[in-house]
């Protein structure tokens, strides 16, 4: 299902509210993913995964930057994310199912920090957006 005008409006409003803190939430989402779905840690055996790890924070910021780019390029996601797709598919060889787990944990993180904003409509728009991002990320896989 394509992103409607309402979806885009909700997403942009949320991203404006998150401001420069997107990296804080993506980092928390990573921490939640590692705890709730321990198999995902296999992709990070080269990193220090202890609580508060600077390396996890650095990776969280990379994820944040990619998502913020995606919010700016909603009409052109496959192209905007094609380099990242190639990286994750060919070099890192991350199972696309893992993106779903991280996406879910990002929803949980945002719900926890912005409960008043996290209406069913926003949840639906965010879920759709993340689905599109994940699709674009998986586009170079096969």
């Amino acid at each position: 299902m394509a992103l409607s005008a309402e979806d885009r409006a909700l997403l942009r409003a949320l991203w404006k509210k998150l401001g420069s803190n997107v990296g804080v939430y993506t980092t928390e989402a990573l921490e939640r993913t590692f705890l709730a779905f321990p198999a995902t840690k296999t992709y990070f055996s080269h990193l220090d995964l202890s609580p508060g790890s600077a390396q996890v924070r650095a990776h969280g910021q990379k994820v944040a930057d990619a998502l913020s780019l995606a919010v700016e390029r909603l009409d052109d996601l496959p192209r905007a994310l094609s380099a990242l797709s190639h990286l994750h598919a060919r070099q890192l060889r991350v199972d696309p199912a893992s993106f779903q787990l991280l996406g879910h944990c990002l929803l949980v993180t945002l719900a926890r920090h912005y409960p008043g904003d996290f209406s069913p409509a926003l949840q639906a728009s965010l879920d759709k957006f993340l689905s599109h991002v994940i699709s674009a990320l998986a586009s170079e896989y096969q």
């Binding site: 705890l35 199912a97 779903q100 996406g103 879910h104 993180t109 409960p115 949840q123 639906a124 699709s135």
Partner: protein
């Protein structure tokens, strides 16, 4: 999310489905994380919200609720009395799961038969609802819903989804 072919949220517990003789084991900490939040929940409200959000975020799930009346918008869905009533039913039986965490397969045997043999619900929907419930817990409990607490609840919702889907195997 959850509709890309081959992609399923919740990797590890899938392995459990291949060995139905292995019961999911919850540690004392996990049980405490689950029961302490459950004790503070308004099951009626949370149930309606969980089912309502499922129908809003994953609109194809409305197929199972054709006779529920007005599902035309998020506010119609969340305000719909049949959605609220059924949501309460669903979450109340979740409460049974929490009282029987060491024996979910038996606890859900009849409900599994109902959902699989009679209602023909794709088990993927049980996982979707479980994840929606986790999100609701995050909105209700905020700071208390730490990554550790979430991990315990993910284990539970995954185990419930597997127990409910057991009759398919």
């Amino acid at each position: 999310m959850g509709q890309i072919p081959g992609c399923k949220p919740g990797l590890e517990p899938q392995a459990q489905a291949l060995r139905p003789d292995i019961m999911v084991h919850f540690t004392a900490e996990e049980k405490a994380a689950i029961t302490s939040l459950w004790g503070k929940m308004n099951v009626e409200e949370a149930g309606g919200e969980a089912l309502g959000r499922l129908l809003v975020v994953y609109p194809w799930t409305q197929r199972f609720f054709d006779n529920f009346g007005n599902l035309s918008s998020p506010s119609a869905i969340l305000g719909n009395p049949k959605v609220k009533a059924h949501g309460k039913k669903v979450l109340t039986s979740f409460g049974d799961a929490i009282k029987n965490m060491d024996n979910l397969k038996t606890t859900f045997a009849k409900l599994s038969e109902l959902h699989c043999d009679k209602l023909h619900v794709d088990p993927e929907n049980f996982r979707l609802l479980g994840n929606v419930l986790v999100i609701i817990l995050a909105t209700h409990f905020g700071k208390e819903f730490t990554p550790e607490v979430q991990a315990a609840w993910q284990k539970l919702v995954s185990a419930v989804a597997i127990a409910l889907g057991h009759k398919y195997h």
